[in-house]
Symmetry: C2
Subunit: 511 residues, 2 copies
Amino acid sequence: MTTADSTPHSKLAKYLRDDAVLGSVASIISWDEQTQLPPAATDLRADQSSMLAMMSHKRATAPELGEMIAAAERHVVEQKLGTDSTEATVAREARRDFDRSTKLPADLVEALARAQVVGHQAWVSARKADDFNAFQPHLDNMLGLKRQEADCVGHDGDRYNALLDDYEPGETSTGIEQVFTDLKDELVTLVAKIQDSGRVAPRDILRRHYPVEAQRNLSRQAAQACGFDFDAGRLDVAVHPFCTGIGPGDTRLTTRFDEHEFAGAFFGTLHETGHGLYEQNLPKIEHFGNGCGMAISLGIHESQSRTWENPVGRSQAFWEHFWPIARKFFPAALNDVRTDDFLFAINDVRPSFIRVESDEATYNLHILLRFELERAMLSGDLNVADLPGAWNERMQKYLGITPSKDSLGCLQDVHWSAGYLGYFPTYTLGNLYGAQFFESVTTHLGGEAERDSMFARGEFQPLLDWLITHIHSKGRRSSARELVNTVTGRELTAQPLLNHLKRKAAEFYGV
Amino acid sequence: MTTADSTPHSKLAKYLRDDAVLGSVASIISWDEQTQLPPAATDLRADQSSMLAMMSHKRATAPELGEMIAAAERHVVEQKLGTDSTEATVAREARRDFDRSTKLPADLVEALARAQVVGHQAWVSARKADDFNAFQPHLDNMLGLKRQEADCVGHDGDRYNALLDDYEPGETSTGIEQVFTDLKDELVTLVAKIQDSGRVAPRDILRRHYPVEAQRNLSRQAAQACGFDFDAGRLDVAVHPFCTGIGPGDTRLTTRFDEHEFAGAFFGTLHETGHGLYEQNLPKIEHFGNGCGMAISLGIHESQSRTWENPVGRSQAFWEHFWPIARKFFPAALNDVRTDDFLFAINDVRPSFIRVESDEATYNLHILLRFELERAMLSGDLNVADLPGAWNERMQKYLGITPSKDSLGCLQDVHWSAGYLGYFPTYTLGNLYGAQFFESVTTHLGGEAERDSMFARGEFQPLLDWLITHIHSKGRRSSARELVNTVTGRELTAQPLLNHLKRKAAEFYGV
């Protein structure tokens, strides 16, 4: 006889919850490091973080956990429970994490950790000195280690899939290639047409004086209007903004302010708010630490941040509500600005070199290029020495511009130096998922006109409710692709995102 | 043969350092709870704190630690090392903590933890309802448990000493009684004379409008001038201000601001700065987690905070430097105020009911009363039911006033509800130590005139250097009383504090 507390499922869930509590301590330590830490405390912080990481690793690879998972799996089979049942989800996701953690030999884990630290330092110097040759051996070394990692984890012949799986479980490089190619074919043409339109957005109005305190207050007000619960979260300042879902009741957003620029902090906050809403509405009280309370993937997470940042935050309807509020916060900067000009400025599309500063449309071409290049480097089709040339060639082909130096090109991102291979595509997957979800929720809300009149009244709860019901509350009961199918009624395609970008291009550039 | 890394001493120090790193994580979690935590996250925070406490307790009571300490002790004996040597200090203090942790049976630890939580809640309600009877059984229960605790720890017949030892190692109730009686005899008379002088300080000037941002900036500037290193620390806001020395390079002060009151935040910050300077200058880089890098006692800690708050921060010399600065920060509030009136206001002595709002002189009478009462309750000489009467009687005797209700009397402090018996006297011990140290450092600096002219120039480094050399850098190499003897050349007496208070009484009240 098993009581409620001693089923294989409940035992496993209890163990995972304790892991999550320990992990949430590490999250606080990391948040504190990025928002509060005095400069002289970095050595202590490294000791604290590595102690917690060691404790977590020990628990995550403990043989007793393996036995608990096996028992929970047997229970699911015996009881013939469906794959999206709580028990099956918890067992499956625990297995996934356990296998990934235990398959890597200790010496590889250590070599990867060292390569990350050394590679990151080398990248910082190389980018500063604009010297790709200085970074090349570190990238070569990292690729070798990531190939070993992929082989240890196991794959179907394509090592890239093993790495991708860490960020976007179940996704494959060929699956991505298909939808990315569809996107690329039309997007390159669209961006070229926009360039040829001759119209230029009045972006200077975003570079006036926007006092920081007013930016902070407007950003908070916007996050709150979107549904972010400040009783269960915070907004602080960090050099590299992020959102961390620490645990039930504690989700923290960060942003950064520049008193001479409006868009970075405002849309950055909306972006992190989207991540924060997902974290706040995952069923963590019941399922903290197990698959039912966890985000599906980086791509699905990004779909939430992009939705609030772009189709919502840059829409005319959103600004019908927020324009008078923003003018009250920034009378000096905005009093002589026409709403249309402001909307054009925040929806400007313009090829540029730096991904993180790029617009909603060209952003995806930055990602496609990185996906193609990292895949080719991992397979060996592209020699690392040839990366700068391949990068510049694709920039010219996709965006019509060529960086004058590698610090504006292949040295701009931190990801590869840190071993994040397979991470880049999740950004554009997020845009694709988000656009397809947004079409469905628009239908649910009664069509575009009805949706926009809600936004114009400052009503975002109906949108959030839909996201909670169909996405947030589900945890990891399905894969990202399955979720898209279930929620939108069809396979993921590039069309919703393309339609959205084309509508905007027509509106602002007449193309 | 033992290498440097494998001596009994270095093994023990390594283990203690790891304990300290884990403890420093708990310190961050606690700081975050008091300064940052969203309200909805309190349950998660309780889980995080208790997990860390359990981990720390397990390490602190591990049999392997007991063996390491025994080996380190044998090493000290074999090598005939002096009691203030690094090795002897580390072994002795580790033994102290280990014995205290292992002597309490688990069921008593649990009962104390439960009584603390329940007792605290009962105290909050009882104080609010002004209902001592509702709190009485909880205090009775706590006293019973504290007697058991004292018996487990062991004592010389006076249980109070066993409890006191947790906060003020080596101190005894008879030792305290001696010096407190000397203090009381003269202080009661002095306070009565001040009352009879008929002079009243213009305290209203401290209750004007003092904008919070300016208070924050002035407080930071003062902390920095005293020597607090903001590259290795912070200043934030908390409901109950505190200082936490998290570890090497990370010491955090907190304060609270009231835009309608100046003194609370300013002198509160100076007080925490004093604690912070001790924490920042303990030799934690070499000795994190062992006795050589730890504060001696609560009393010595308090001596540092009181020194910067009172003899330094309320002195005329200090304000020769800070007065023009303060007037720039608060032109509206201070432009029509004479320096002398401001000095009188911040040095006002006036009997009042609430300890934490009382002045530099009467504060000690609040403490003496609590020391006498908690000692009598623990021994059984005073029944808990008779506490309110005994309290009020002593208030009348020492301060000439009687509280109209228990919430202004014996229900005002959190300490007893939380089981902090033996804690109160460390506050006045701090004032006593501090005054005696201050006499010595004054001599060292060339006398009062020379010292004051340094302060008037904003030079506090010579004072801090002396405190670092004679106190901070020593860690726990000696007991508090030994330190006083070594540093000041004589036993602790009440005279330095009395002299200081009498000088001020003469200056401001002409008595």
